[in-house]
C-alpha cells in the first residue's frame, strides 16, 4: 500500500505543480478573508475567542476550495478508471488524498498564519507557537479526513461545488469548535494561557473516529 500511496501522492504533487489549481486559490482566499475581516470588523487587532474564530472559519472555508478540486483530475481525466483497474488496495487513494489535503493545508498555513498575526492578531502567539502548531496539526488531520471523504462523494455529482461545502461544513463544526476553543487561550489579550487539553482530546478523538469511518467506507464510494 505504501508504494501505491507514494505513486498517487507523487502524481498529485506533479499535477499541482503544473496546474497551480488548489494551493494558490486557497492561499489567496485566506489572505483576502483576513483583509476583509480587518476592514469589515473595523478593528486593527483581535484577541481571544474572536481571533480564534476568525482564524478557524477562514481556514475551514479555504480548505473547502481544496476539497472541491481534490478528485477533479481523477473524474475528468479518467484517473478513477485507471486506478480501479489496477491490482492495488483502493484505500491507498483515500490515504494519498488525505495526505495531499493535509499538505495543502500546511502549505497554506505557512503563509496564512503569519499573515493573520501581522494583519489581525494582537498580541502574537509568541511562546505559544508549539501549542498552536499542535492544534493546527490535529485540526488539519480532521479536515483532511472528512474533506477527502466528502470530496470523493461530491465529485460523483454534477453539483460538486454545492454538495462539498453543504456536506463538509456541518461535519466539520466539531473541528471548528475544538480548534477555536483550544486556540482562544493562546490568543488571549493578557498573553497566552495554557492550552486546554480537553479540546485537544476532542480533536484527536474526532480524527480517530472519522479516520476509521473513512477507511471503512471509502472503497464503496469508488464503486459504480
Amino acid at each position: 500500500m505504501r508504494r501505491t500511496v507514494g505513486a498517487l501522492l507523487r502524481k498529485d504533487l506533479q499535477l499541482e505543480r503544473r496546474s497551480f489549481e488548489s494551493v494558490p486559490a486557497m492561499l489567496l482566499f485566506t489572505v483576502s478573508a483576513f483583509v476583509l475581516f480587518r476592514f469589515g470588523l473595523d478593528r486593527s487587532s483581535l484577541e481571544g475567542d474572536l481571533a480564534a474564530g476568525v482564524l478557524w472559519v477562514t481556514l475551514l472555508l479555504a480548505a473547502v476550495l481544496g476539497m472541491n478540486r481534490l478528485f477533479v483530475a481523477e473524474r475528468e481525466q479518467g484517473g478513477f478508471d485507471g486506478f480501479l483497474m489496477a491490482p492495488v488496495d483502493r484505500t491507498a487513494m483515500f490515504v494519498a488524498k488525505a495526505l495531499l489535503l493535509f499538505g495543502f493545508l500546511v502549505a497554506v498555513e505557512v503563509v496564512a498564519v503569519p499573515a493573520f498575526v501581522i494583519l489581525l492578531l494582537e498580541p502574537g502567539p509568541g511562546q505559544a507557537l508549539p501549542e498552536l502548531l499542535a492544534v493546527l496539526a490535529l485540526a488539519n488531520a480532521g479536515i483532511a479526513v472528512v474533506g477527502t471523504l466528502v470530496g470523493a462523494l461530491g465529485v460523483q455529482t454534477r453539483v460538486r461545488d454545492l454538495i462539498v461545502p453543504l456536506m463538509a461544513l456541518p461535519l466539520l463544526i466539531p473541528v471548528v469548535i475544538g480548534a477555536a476553543e483550544a486556540t482562544a487561550p493562546l490568543f488571549a489579550a493578557s498573553g497566552a494561557s495554557p492550552l486546554p487539553g480537553r479540546w485537544l482530546t476532542v480533536l484527536a478523538l474526532y480524527d480517530a473516529v472519522f479516520g476509521l469511518i473513512a477507511y471503512a467506507v471509502f472503497d464503496f464510494l469508488l464503486e459504480d
Binding site: K11, Q14, Q77, G78, G82, F83, L84, D224
Partner: protein, 225 residues
Amino acid sequence: MATATAVEVAALGRAYGERVVLRELAFSLPEGATVAVFGANGAGKTTLLRILAGLLRPHAGEARVLGAALPKEAWKVRGRIGLLGHEPLLYRDLTVRENLRFHARLHDVPEGRAAELVERVGLAGRDEDPVRTLSRGMAQRAAICRALLHEPDLLLLDEPLANLDPGGAEAVEPLLRGPARVLISHDAEDGLAAADWVLGLRGGRQAIWAPAADVTLADVRGLYR
C-alpha cells in the same frame, strides 16, 4: 490461471436510471479469440466494455471475465485487463513518461517496459511532452502504451486505431494481437477481418452472435440502419 473462456455473459443487463441500455446479452468468448462488437451509437457497446472492465455493475444476469464472476470477484482480474476506450485515461498536465511511470507503479511493472512500448508505438521523441500538447493520434498512441503496459490477458478496445495515421496504425496493430480481445469497431470490413466472433447490438439487444466467417458485411451494415 488458465480458463477455457475469456469472457462469458448470460442474460446480462444494465440500465441508467429508467433507461435500459443492455438487455439479455449472452455469449462466450474463448481464450485468445477476438470478438468484434458492432452497433449504432447508443447500442450499448461502451457500457458492455465498462462492465467487462469491472467499472460498471451489471444490473441483471451474469458476467465472468477470465474466470472471475463480476462484480463479486473483480479483484481477481484487476491488473489482467487492458482497457482502451474513447478517453485515453491519461493526466493531461503530466508528460507521457510521467503518466506511464505512474501506471507502471500501480501495476508493479518495471519502468523499462514503458520505454520499450513508447519506442514501439513511435512516441520516443514526444514522451517528455505533456499529454495536453499531443495531437489526438499521439495521445492515442500513449493510451495504447498505458493499456498494454501490464501485458493484460484480455484487451477491451474501443476503436483502437481511431485517430491514427497509417504509419501509426501499422506500428500499433501487432502490439494489440495476442490476448483475447473485445473490439468495438465501426469499420465493418476491418472489424470482420480482425475478428473470430461477431457480436451485433441493436438498441441494447443482441442482434448477432456468430463466427465472423458466417457474418457478411451486409449483416453488419444492417445494424446501423
